[in-house]
């Protein structure tokens, strides 16, 4: 899918803060129009043929801009792309008309066995060629541009040939996909592997960045070493807010999602985090003016 340039950017998604849509908040979001700029739904949660979950999503879509964020396509896998999964994703896109559709720079299955996790790729030329072919295949099937998100990682492969940021940048340039830059994931991986997170942000080409993610993480100790785990279970920490500020300086205002997937708090707490992100975005707009 390299024929001609695509329109980059964030489509019709506003450069404001949104929140991840979780079933616990469906009713509250439907009963009253909240100060939510947009919602992001995990695609697989709405693959149903019918029923209340899907019905709620479509009703919410009438109230708020929507992004669909997949976690199960396993784009980086060497197995054939799962056509059934793609068909369901396409059907959901047709039903809900999202402004953005995203997936991950990862894989989750091999030999037909799924681990349903965001597993790390070795950053090699072989993996880059494979990933680029797969992103093209997905974009062709969906007839639209997708965003690819960097994941947190807890290991690195000895024979890596590229940094993650160069891998991402090259992937975007080869496929014209957009990039979803998860600031928390950069922070987590930087701490786990000892690189400068600002270098990562600077090396990602800004024109491809269509969305940002923010989330909380936890810290595990292994003897003298710490490993940060991307848990999406708590507030965004101060260091990640600072890195987010740097990302906005680098890329300009971008739609920004607050992700909170486990130990999900009451809606006002999520909205509070989104309001915080909006204050950063407002500053970035003022600086850009």
């Amino acid at each position: 899918m390299n024929a001609g340039p695509r329109v980059l950017g964030s489509g019709s998604m506003p450069a404001h803060a949104g929140i991840g849509l979780r079933a616990q908040h469906h009713d509250a979001l439907l009963e009253q129009r909240h100060e939510v700029n947009w919602l992001e739904a995990h695609s697989e949660n709405y693959f149903a043929d019918g029923g209340a979950q899907l019905d709620h999503l479509l009703k919410l879509r009438a109230l708020y801009p929507l992004s669909l964020h997949g976690v199960g396509l396993s784009i980086g896998s060497t197995d054939p792309l799962n056509r059934e999964h793609l068909r369901k994703l396409k059907r959901l896109i047709e039903r809900s008309e999202p402004a953005l559709v995203s997936e991950h720079l990862s894989w989750g299955s091999a030999g037909g066995v799924y681990l349903n996790d965001l597993l790390p790729l070795p950053y090699t030329e072989e993996a880059l060629q494979h990933m680029a072919a797969r992103v093209n295949e997905v974009q062709d099937f969906l007839s639209r541009r997708i965003l690819i998100e960097n994941v947190s990682s807890y290991l690195q492969f000895n024979d890596a040939e590229l940094t993650e940021w160069d891998f991402l940048a090259e992937l975007a340039q080869r496929t014209q996909c957009g990039l979803l830059i998860d600031v928390n994931n950069i922070y987590v991986s930087a701490r786990n592997h000892g690189f400068d997170p600002k270098t990562y942000i600077e090396r990602v080409p800004r024109d491809y960045v269509g969305e940002l993610h923010l989330a909380g993480h936890s810290i595990n100790r292994y003897g003298e070493k710490e490993i940060l785990i991307d848990t999406h279970s708590t507030h965004v920490c101060a260091e990640v807010w600072q890195l987010y500020s740097f990302a906005l300086e680098t890329y300009g205002p971008r739609p920004t999602l607050i992700e909170w997937d486990t130990d999900i708090p009451a809606l006002p707490i999520l909205l509070g985090e989104a309001a915080q992100a909006d204050r950063y975005l407002e500053n970035a707009r003022a600086l850009a003016a």
Binding site: E44, F47, A48, D49, G50, G51, A52, Q53, L54, D55, G70, V71, G72, L73, S74, S77, T78, N82, E84, H85, K88, W107, G108, S109, A110, G111, G112, V113, Y114, L115, N116, D117, L119, L121, P122, T124, E126, A127, H130, Y154, L155, Q156, F157, N158, D159, H193, G194, N220, Y222, G223, E224, K225, I227, I229
Partner: protein, 258 residues
Amino acid sequence: MHSLRELQRRFVSALLWENAGLLTNEITADGIEPVQRLQIYRNNARIGFLTALETTFPVVARLGGKDWFNQTVWRYQQQHPSFSGDLHHAGELFADYLARELSGSDYEYFADVARLEWIHQEVLIAADSTPLDFSSLQSIPAADHAKLRFRIAPAARWVRSRFPLLAIWQANQPDADETTSVDLGSGPSNIVAMRRNDHVELRECSDAECVMLQALANNLNLEAAAARFARDLPDDDFSATLLQLAQRELIVDFSIDK
């Protein structure tokens, strides 16, 4: 360095079947053993799978207790790993697995509870439909009635058990009376699950309804369904049972053989 395909195959094996040695030479240690780094991913994969099954099978989890459920689900995941990027499918074989694992034990009924919970989930996400308006059959000549095939509501399932399944399920709901006890020997039961107004209605049904539902689900026309019914339940009333399914809004469409 292995090919990407081989690396991924080894990674899955390391996580799911604990063959970490297949991969440790590929991973940078940097102060933490590769085995420990892989363990982080194994935990993530286990927790994601476990959470999906806890959501689908809350009554089985409650009956068995947290430790039993965690260990059982891990063994199940190792034998029947997920085959989809959508974890909603992960529990599809869980009832059959429990039936094998618990055969001959006092806990055989867990398998039937799992079957009920699985159809409960299927019904929640099945396609929407509207009940058949039976007045639309008035235009069908009586001579053609034997050629009719009825379609059951997509959001309807049923399960048959030699245990009092509905009573077990009800006694293990979050708002149930903790003092309620269920006599497992109190007889068999048939349950039909159907979605109504965004929630799943569970109710007991007769053997006749189950046989009729199965005949229609097998896409038999009325002539063949009646023959099947007469064979299995010679003392029951075929027409009355069909009418009962219609009144319960379990039939949504029909076709007629050419």
